[in-house]
Amino acid sequence: MTVYYDISGLAFRHGPCEVLDSVDLRLSAAELVALAGPNGSGKSTLLNVMAGLWLNYGGHCRLQDREVCYWPRSQIARVVAHVPQQFSVSFPFTAEEVVLTGRAPHGRGAFESAADLRAVKRAMVVTDTLQFRHRRFGTLSGGERQRVILAAALAQEPRVLLLDEPAAFLDLEHQVALWKLLGQFREQGLAVLVITHDLNLASAFSDRIVLLHRGRIVVDAPPAQALTPTWLSEVFHVPVTIGTAPGERPWLRYGI
């Protein structure tokens, strides 16, 4: 199995503030990993470092055996697609134009090649967004927007997807649809790391759950082992009850 990310002893500071502290993590092909943790635990920072957006990290963050900080930007974007939490558009771009941006790392020309357009079409078919490709991005619903943004990331034809809370603002149906889609990406061999606050969906769909707490990874295990009441109530400061049925993934109830 191809290992894409091999992270060890990773540290990151925002000024005096230590955001990440000796983080160890591996991410391989055909894996769907959920990254959870309280607000401010360093989840987005970890994703940004992995995507090569912040280079002044300590320790090691290797992508395909090469430190992320030594990857040229255009090259890393051909392997890794990073989708930030915030995505706002103040101009009347169409859905298709949003997806076209995913092809930027693959060509230096002013216009997309035929191969670029094929990749865009594939990505839009997979995410079921082709029907509104000519609509303005700003007029789409939250769930549609999220799918268009995913299509842009897919159009990049990456090996690794790093998603920062893609399910925020989605209703139940769209959350489940999103996780199913991520499951499909995993089947196609992509390495997917997704930040989420929904531990039930993470438990149902992901291979591993990584729990980040104050910049350290406290748990990195398959859902059945990762979701334990002691860990969760310690990290999230709410009472947690774990439910299990034989042969099923654990589910949890919290706050009550």
Binding site: G52, R73, F87, F91, F93, E97, L100, F111, T139
Partner: protein, 332 residues
Amino acid sequence: MGFEDTKKRRALRATAWSAAAAALVLLASPWLGEPLDAGRILARQSPDFEILFELRLSRTLLGMIAGACLSLAGVVFQALLRDALATPYTLGVSSAASLGAVLAIVCNWDQVLGFPAVWASALLFAGAVLCLIIALAAKGMRLSSFTLLLVGITMNSICAALILLLHSLASFTHAFAVTRWLMGALDSASYQALGWLAAGVAAPALVILRLSRQWNLMAFGEVWAAGRGASPRQLLFIGYVSGSVLAASVTALTGPIAFVGLIVPHMLRRALGADHRILMPCSLLLGAAFLALCDALARTATAPVEVPVGVVTALLGGPFFIWLLWKGPRSE
């Protein structure tokens, strides 16, 4: 409805139409106004020949270069700041040019380094501010659209204050000249000056146009651009410097002309969409046509008295803008 290469064809078609419109304006607008005798012009007879070529054509050309530069600078600043309300004057370098020009007027300088003092002083001031910001960036200021905007707003305030100060200290005639200059007006210029201007703005304009696809990425935010393999800080820097050179060079020759850099990109974005590969060449060409037409109106509407062209762009563009808003968004 295949997934064929429509983007490129659309861009070429829109650019060709815009170029045709600009060419039409270039050919037609020197003839507007007091009628000229074509026969006398063909025979190179005075004064018709001089009026057409020395006065009206050069003025039209200046208007077209100015309109093109202001529109393109507007589009690139709007993309960098992700704000459709940004103008060529938002980021401060043009105000420095205004300050330089006003200083030259108030101090009654005639020539600086062999050039007309107003132009030279304006360009020197703009260059100084540009160098200051580049130095700040080199010293480690985090170059982001936010810091650029902050510095720009600060520069605008400082320059506006200094201009007011100079204005209040100046004699009555100088104060009037300052006010007049600050309204923004086109005048006939020598072909040599036009040549210098064109040479100065050609390079930054080409740089901006060549990076059209990158401005699309920047319009979605610096993080998005970085995640798609672009270098946001480098692009910010290039866009900022090129746009500033365009806006400041024009400001030195014409004074600040309001509204062109705001309304032309806005109207075209509504008509053609936001893709900068279509928007930028069309803004350049139709911005040129728009300003030249406004100027033709400015010099003919109330002849023999001339209205400053900035007044016409605002009075013509403003109501049209409101009308567009009234009509609501373009149908999907």
